[in-house]
């Protein structure tokens, strides 16, 4: 599972930064296209739910996603060890 912030909803309150026990959310520094400074993710693959949700078949930890007042945090399916195609533009 992959942790994602929906930037079309996030209002940059930084409550996720406050609650994550792994410090995965870091206060952002750049304004996005909506004029909001959304947090950035620091090695999100460390998140308990990213690692173990499939194994346990239920939500683990999940406090960031419960406290996020703007319903902006979620997890998306990701195939493990999928090779990522990198395109280099010249």
């Amino acid at each position: 599972m992959k942790l994602v912030i929906d930037e079309s909803r996030c209002k940059g309150c930084n409550l996720c930064v406050l609650v994550c026990p792994y410090g995965i959310f870091r206060e952002g520094t750049e304004l996005n296209s909506r004029g909001i400074v959304a947090p950035v993710l620091d090695r999100p693959e460390r998140c308990t739910n990213c690692r173990l949700q499939a194994l346990y078949g239920r939500m683990l930890c999940g406090v960031c996603h419960m406290i996020c007042p703007d319903q902006a945090i979620s997890w998306v399916e990701e195939k493990p060890f999928e090779p990522h195609k990198v395109e280099v533009e010249f």
Partner: protein, 262 residues
């Protein structure tokens, strides 16, 4: 996002200010509804007027956004006419305890079978920050520029005294506990009252030296005391620290209830 089947995707993002705790309380309530396994066409959300009362507008079920203070009166009507429906009320401290104070105590006395979630931000958020019956002593609001001089209502204790079958209090920081309390309340026949203390950074925090959202959450967290701990301190004759409020389950009982479907 929590309970994706219950949110009106097309209405999000909601109108709440950055860091407003109301969104968190909607998450916890919907997580509870989902855990109960209720169906969307068997659940009704009712609210009055206020920022908190806008919550049903973001939920994909039938709902009633009623007049200021009257959410419980309308909800009682829904329950009496259709006891087969699950009724959940979202209300604010002003909506519930100021203009709607009478409906509050009588809904508890009658013990109408529904779940009432009060987003208590200690202020009239929507109208620009006037003092409410829960504004703490000394707090600055637009109607108390020298500090609130009146004592505040303890909404949860009020519900216990008035007769509700389930009463709990948590804060927007205690997301897991709040969700559990919502579920326990929904399982209890009769009126379940869940007070969720929450942050209004715009109209409360700004005037009370709690400008940032994390500072407001930290204030809630550090002033919350478990009921068990309060009881222990009282039994030991020790003083209760100034400004703290109890959190946890205050009552769970089985007084006769109204509108319970057999």
């Amino acid at each position: 996002m929590i309970a994706p089947d219950w949110f009106r995707d097309d209405r999000l993002p909601h109108i709440y200010c950055t860091g407003c705790g109301n969104g968190t309380i909607i998450n916890c309530t919907l997580a509870g509804v989902e855990e109960m396994g209720w169906k969307r066409n068997e659940t009704v959300f009712v609210s009055g007027i206020g920022c908190s009362s806008r919550a049903p507008g973001y939920i994909l079920t039938d709902s009633l956004h009623t007049t200021h203070g009257r959410a419980l009166a309308f909800a009682t009507g829904v329950k009496m006419a259709r006891p087969d429906l699950h009724v959940v009320v979202f209300t604010g401290d002003g909506d519930l305890a100021a203009i709607g104070g009478n409906h509050f105590i009588h809904a508890c006395r009658r013990n109408v079978d529904m779940t009432v979630v009060c987003m208590n931000n200690h202020i009239y958020g929507m109208t620009g920050g006037q003092g409410s019956p829960t504004t703490p002593p000394g707090a600055i609001s637009t109607t108390t520029p020298y500090g609130m001089s009146e004592p505040a209502f303890d909404l949860a204790e009020l519900a216990v005294a008035a007769g509700a079958n389930y009463v709990a209090r948590w804060t927007s920081y205690h997301v897991k506990e709040l969700t559990k309390a919502v579920v326990a309340g929904m399982q209890t026949p009769g009126l379940a009252f869940i007070e969720a203390r929450t942050q209004c950074p715009t109209n409360y925090g700004r005037h009370n030296k709690l400008r940032s959202v994390p500072a407001m959450i930290e204030h809630l967290r550090s002033h919350a005391m478990l009921v068990q701990k309060r009881d222990r301190l009282v039994a030991e004759g020790k003083p209760i620290p100034e400004g703290t409020f109890t959190v946890g389950e205050l009552v769970r009982r089985s007084r006769p209830a109204m509108g319970v479907q057999r």
